[in-house]
Structure formats: C-alpha cells, structure tokens
Symmetry: C3
Subunit: 342 residues, 3 copies
C-alpha cells in the first residue's frame, strides 16, 4: 500500500487553527505544523526544525513568525528562517512548506509535488458553506484503522442494519435497491426504498413516526477519501412536498497506514428548522461512529495487521460494489502517479 500524493488532503477544521496559535498533525505519515502566518493565511510546514529536529509545534507564534522553542530560530509561513538570535539567518535553514488552502471550513494540504497543487480540484463541499456553523454538526474522530477500511464502511451502508440497529440501521438499507455508477472522478452509490420502515434516527424525524416512508440514501466518493452522503426521506408518496433532506460529509484522511483522521459534518433540514434537534442527532451519530463503527474497524485492522487487503482474498458480495469501485479508482490513480515518477 501507498498513498496518493498529488491530491488535496482534508487536514484540519479551520476552526482548529483559530482556537490555538499552532497545531501539530500527522497526515499520510508526515508530521505537520499548522499555523497562521503574518497575512492570516494558513501555513503548513514540516513539524521539525532543520537545525536540531525539535518539533516546531513546541514553539510559539508571534506576528506570523513561528519560533522554535529550543534555540529560537524563527520561520515564516513559507518555511524560510527569518530570525536567528545567534547570527544571520541561514538560507539553508528552511522547513519544508506544503501548499495549503482554506476552503469549506477546512484546511486542505497538498503533500505531493508543489507545482501540481491546483485548488480548483478540491472537492465541492458547498453544502457546508451553505449553513452557519451553529446549524452544522461537525467533528473529528481518530481511529486506529486504515483509511480505506473506513471508506469501505461508508461505501456499504448496509452495515448500519447490523452494526447500528438502534440508530442508522434496522433493515431498510439491506432491503433497498442498490445502484452503483462512476461519473468522472466520482463513484456514486444509491440505495432506494419505498413504503418501508426507516432507521430509528430518520423515523423519529417523520411527521408521523412509524408510518411507511420513502427513503433515498446516496454516497458520492472522491479520491483520496472524501464522501458526501445525501439522505432524503419522507412519508410514502410525499417526498416532493414533505421530504426531509440531509447531507453528511465523511472524509477519511490517513494519519499513518493504520490510523485515520475521520472528519465529519452533518447538516439537515431538521437541524435548520429546530435547533433543539441537534443534540439528539449528535447522540445518534456519536453512538454509531464512536461506539460501534470505530471498535469494529479497529478490530478489522488488527485482523489485517500489516497485510494487504486484497492478499487476504475477501469473499465479495454484491453489497461491496461501491467499495470495490472506489478502491479501484484510487488504486488506478496511485498506479498512474507511480508511473509518472518512474
């Protein structure tokens, strides 16, 4: 396994970089320090001082200069040493700088060839910007599992029927008609059921809970692991005028081969209409993500160890179509990137 490098990784929520002057985060095995430079723009540097390898994240930021806490070298937002209390600032003292962009309430980082970093290919997560922060449920969950296992988990939501029976499951995902397609960079998987029983989380939001309902559940995957999920549901036959819409982002950013930063963001009509609903939905999501998904994914990872997923010869079922399509799309991109390098 290796990572796709010439791609944008969702590295942090933007608010994480305003809540504190600087922060350390590891993505795709690289230790990063994230701070705001003199112009207020987000800067991302390798989190290691080129002098004696102290972590720059143990330093301080003042006037947009990041000063190492060990011997006082100061670095600007491009990683250049601009201050040395012991003599002239040495040109060779240069911390690696990573292209970064602040968009959709997030910090995106490019770990590959800097010249190729094109912000226009950042996935469109406009649904996040469409809502004010207080109408979004967003978070970050660190999980000890490979990011691709975590993508698989979202690309096959039938698992909710078995792993999350009391919140997001119950059987409708299994009973629904499933359809997978590839559209440009996206792999899209759709589940559709009419006049069925909704999962407890959605059922509780119906005007008449317990009555038959129509259910649409769609996930749009983009490399390296950014997924937008739309759940659209309502009383049977009334989707058009009474349908309730929700969007959820699930983004899996590898920390290492076996650990992942899972960024999520949920918005919905219900949340917008009634702010008292947020804690209820947050409870559902927390039980499902932290209480049920994470233990299962971490157990899966322990079973895999450092073996390649395909080398284990998984038995493939029809429900794996979405996950397999997105794995293949990613593998093809990684393969192509390697060929260019070789």
């Amino acid at each position: 396994m290796t990572y796709l490098l010439n791609t944008w990784y969702f590295a942090a929520w933007a608010r994480e970089t305003t809540e504190r002057p600087l922060m350390a985060r590891t993505i795709v095995g690289e230790d990063l320090v994230i701070f705001r430079a003199a112009d207020g723009a987000v800067s991302v540097l390798a989190d290691v001082c080129p002098h004696r390898f102290a972590p720059l994240s143990a330093g301080v930021v003042a006037n947009g200069v990041l000063t190492c806490g060990y011997h006082g070298l100061g670095f600007d937002g491009r990683g250049q040493c601009v201050a040395n209390p012991h003599g002239p600032a040495p040109k060779a003292a240069q911390a690696r700088a990573y292209p970064s962009v602040e968009r959709h309430a997030a910090v995106w980082v490019w770990v590959g060839t800097p010249e190729l970093a094109d912000p226009s290919v950042i996935p469109d997560l406009g649904f996040i910007d469409a809502k004010p922060p207080e109408q979004r449920i967003e978070g970050l969950l660190h999980t000890k599992a490979n990011y691709q296992l975590m993508v698989d988990n979202i690309m096959d939501l039938t698992h909710a029927d078995y792993l999350h029976p009391d919140t997001l499951g119950g059987g409708v995902n299994t009973r629904a008609k499933m359809q997978v397609e590839k559209n440009g960079r996206e792999v899209i998987i759709r589940w559709s059921a009419d006049a069925d029983t909704l999962p407890p989380a959605q059922n509780s939001l119906l005007p008449e809970p317990g009555h038959p309902a129509d259910f649409r559940n769609e996930v749009y995957w983009r490399e390296p692991g950014v997924m937008r999920q739309r759940v659209f549901f309502g009383p049977t036959g009334r989707l058009e005028d009474q349908g309730i819409d929700s969007w959820t982002m699930h983004t899996m950013t590898p920390e290492t081969e076996t650990t992942t930063h899972y960024f999520y963001c949920h918005t919905s009509d219900s949340l917008t209409a009634d702010p008292t609903i947020a804690p209820v939905i947050e409870g559902f999501l927390h039980q499902a993500f932290a209480g049920e998904d994470a233990p299962m994914l971490e157990a899966q990872q322990r079973k895999l160890g450092d073996r390649d997923f395909w080398s284990m010869r998984p038995v493939l079922l029809n429900i794996d179509s979405g996950a397999v399509r997105s794995r293949r799309a990613l593998d093809a991109l990684i393969e192509k990137e390697r060929e260019v390098v070789a």
Copy 2:
C-alpha cells in the same frame, strides 16, 4: 521455535463456553471463536469473517448460527456460510473450522491437519471428572512467558523451595530423592522424602502439623504441555492408612510464542472432606502461581527475548532432568511433524 500442530490443545474450560454465548481466544498464534452450534456441540472457527475480516466474535449466536456483527453473514458450526441477508449464501464464504472435543470439563482444539484429529489421544484427566465442580479448584492464568518455560517450571519443583518458601517450598523438594523416567508418551518425574518437614501448604493439612512426614511428589508430562501432578503425604510411616492424596493439572497452552494460557485444576482428599479448606488452598495457589511464578517467568521471558532457549547455552544441573526430557520429547515430535510435511 515452532509449535506442535497435530495435537490437542486445551483451549478453554467448558464452563467458559456456557457462561457466555461466544468467546474469542488465541492459541498457537491463531485467533479462534468458540461457541455452541445448533446441536449444543462446541464449535471452533477462525475468528475472522471471510467477507471483510471482521472478528466473528464481535457477532451474535442464535439457534446455533454465528452471525457476523458487521454485515450479517451467518455461519454454522462447521464454518459454512448458511445465511446472507443480501442474496444467496456464497459457498466460498467459509470460515476455517477446527476439530474440537469437549472432555474433562474442557474444550480441546486440534490446529493441525483435520483428518488426523483423533480424540482417543486426548490425555486422560479422569481425576477431574471424578469430582464435582464444587470440589475442584480450577482456573486460568494468562502469563507473558513462553509455554515451554512454564512447563520447565512444573517439571522442576525444587524451585518451590526458593520461590515459594511460605507455601509450597521450604526445602523438602531439594532434599528429596529425584527420579525421572519416560513411559510411552509420558515423562515422569518423582520426588520422594521420608521423615522430613513438609511445605507449609501440606504441613497445615497434617493431623499433627510440624511432626515428621513422608512426602511423594510426582509429575506426569504429556505433549504439548499437559501435566498431572500427584502429591501424596502423611505422618511418617503412615502413608498407607493416613496418607492424603491430591491431584493437580497444570496445562500450558501457547497463546503466542511469548504468552501462555495456564489452565490449572486442583483436587484433594482434604478438599473433599472439608469444603472450608478450599479458600485456604486457593490462597496458597494464588500466591504461588500469580504472585511468585508469573513474575519470575515473565522476567525470564524478557531476558530471553526472541532468542531460542538452547542458543543461550544454559548451564544444566541434575534438577533439570525432567524439564530437559520433556523438552526433548516435544522437540522430537515437532521435528517429526516437519519431516512429514517436507
């Protein structure tokens, strides 16, 4: 080092499999799930779903079918997928099944070639069946040491004089005459002392504690690491009419190369005669096993690291005869097994 594979391993106490619907256990490096199938018989499967490698032990058992907690595939006691809520049960979905037998209050598992699994070679531990559970002291102690070090510990009980001076030692094991013999598959070691001072644990059970006593201590080893110990003692010259008999099983089942499941079971005339004695004996055993043996064995293991025991060139003493004989018997069986394979 490697393990003997074509042999029965003591994998669990049978009551462990009735106290809960399913249980996970690793033996000789293999992750197993143990549950009771439709006919009530114990089943042992590899603890990994062939679909996406979730641990089957995170699932549920109903009507003897083990259902994976991730996507709902169901497996019978032979590991065959018999239920798939997403379509026909795929024939290829087969969890490895291990031959198993319930005998002597235990679950025995065969990790080698299934066709060779012959229940008639399970060691005879009839002394366990001869007593009702309430007249047995039995347990399981997980220890971070190689199982062979733990066999050595039982095959040289002179260690009790130094490591367990207040319970099972005191000097008599060192003073006793020692004799080792091999009888078929068994290596037998006997210590015998007349008119001596008993270890505190046995002395306290004498009609007149502190008076001279005769002492017989015998261990019968069988591959892969099952030992029966008989301690027989009484006032000097009165063994035949006043002797007190006890049997203890010490079984060392490798979990990994450096960790061991130590199963033990103690029965004795004293226990049968007076149930109030059980907590006293249990205290003696717990102090000796958990409080003194385990720390020493784990320290020994840390000193060995991943080096082979013989490569360390141990200085051999006469007291090592039993341990060395049982090590050689086991090594010969492992060697023979390898030749057959090669």
Copy 3:
C-alpha cells in the same frame, strides 16, 4: 550508531547501592545487577543467571553472596557460582562480571575488554568529594532520548534562553561571547558576559538582584558523556571578591540507543553558605530538567526515530560548535576502537 565500550560509565550513585541490597540497571544495552560482595566492594554482574536466565536481581544477597531467587544458585562478587543446594557448584556457572570502581560518590562500570579497565582514566569529579552530601543536590533522571542528544543539550547552553526563560535562561547565554577549545580528552566551551542581566536562578542569588552582573559559564566534556559545568558570577567588576561559584556535573549514560540515565550533581558557594537555599535551587533544576529539557529531548528523539543524527543533515549554527566538537571526539574514539577489533 554504536557505543564506546572501553570506557568507564557512571552506572549508579553509590548511595543507591547502600539503600538497597541489590539493584538492576541497564547501561549501553546490557542488563546489570549491582550489589556489595563479602568485602563490601561494589560488584557488577550480568543480570541473568547462567542456569535458566532468571534475573539475578530478583534474588537475595547474604554475606556478600548473591543467591538466585529461582533455584538457589549463589554467586560471589566475581560472578563465580559458589553455592548450589542441589549438588556441587558447577564451574561453568559463571555470571559475567564487569570491572567496577566506586569513586566520586558513584559506581563506575567498564563494559569493554576487562584487561583494559584502568581506574586512573575515570574523570576527575573531585568537586563532588569536596562537599558533604547535604551540601550537594544530586539525582538521576531517566529520559527517553539518545544520550548524545542530551550531551548536545548541555554543550549548547544558549538553549536555556528559549527553553528555560524563567530559570536558567533569559538571554545572557545568547548575548555572551562563546569560545570552544579542545584540551587533551576534554572539549571545553566557555560563555562570558560582562555587565549583563543574569538568568533568574543566578540573579536571585546576587547580593542586589537585578543589578548588572558579570557571568562566566563553562562546560568541560569528557567521553563518553561526562560534563562538568562551572557557573561563576557576581556584581559587575566584583567577580574576584564577590563572585559566587558553582559546579554541576551532567553525566549522560546510555541505557539503550534511545534512552538515557541522566545523573546530575550540583554544588555551590550559596548552597554551602545557606542550607535553606537548596530547595529553591532544586526547584529551578527540576523545572528545567524534568519539566522542559526532558519533553523537548524526547520529542527530538521521536522525530529522529532510529535514523542517524548526521543522516538528517542538520543545519549547523555557530552555537553548535561545542556539541559538534564533542560528537566528533567521541566518534573518533569509537572509530579507533572498532579498528582495533577489526
């Protein structure tokens, strides 16, 4: 990386070996047991019984004989087995003995070729002997960093200005004139500043805190990692008659490649004059060493991982002169030692 072997390592404070009958310590990757033999002299043996590899440090010492806690073999101060309760003491039962010397309140151990062990090359730490124990502040700090990183830390005390601003820093080390020289086995680094502001720790000891002062700070390095630091300061122009002198030993003994025993000892005129000052200085040192140095050094180590320091191509500044000179001196000795062996 490798260690210098034919050298004396500071292995323990002598009082550690009187406070308890025996102690285990690992230096340069070798597990040692330290105890006092029949003549009261310190003995250092490999901490592993040649019989079954139990740690000898789990045994007992009586009449200068160290008896293994597992099977009762007894060893004298030269590591020879002198007692075997199971038969004659086998000549082959010999625990490796390490040359050792008790000097300067410490136990020094030689891990290389025993014949080369010459006590006359133990570094002169007579300043320790010059003070009674109650006028010394001494200790041991275990740190998860390579010992050479910890030597670097002392050989460039400008770090105090950034890492210890409230105790040992403040800016004077950076402003001071620096000079490095090599004198025989020693690398000496000197900082000198006149009419400057002292670090808080020294400033508080001035007759008139806050007034301009003269400041001399010197470190004398000796292989493998023994440093004597002299700090000499006083009101400007009055060093000769009002100067306050202090000596501090910083000795970095490798435990493993990535962990270090940091032994330190501080004496000063102030301590001698006024015993109530000790807790104040102890507080300063503890904040600096344990609270600030250790976390930084351990973070540095994590960044290095198992890579060689030079392979990381550090940007060198003038402040690194002392550290680089001592690293080169040590590397040359290690290189020379290897050539002799090869």
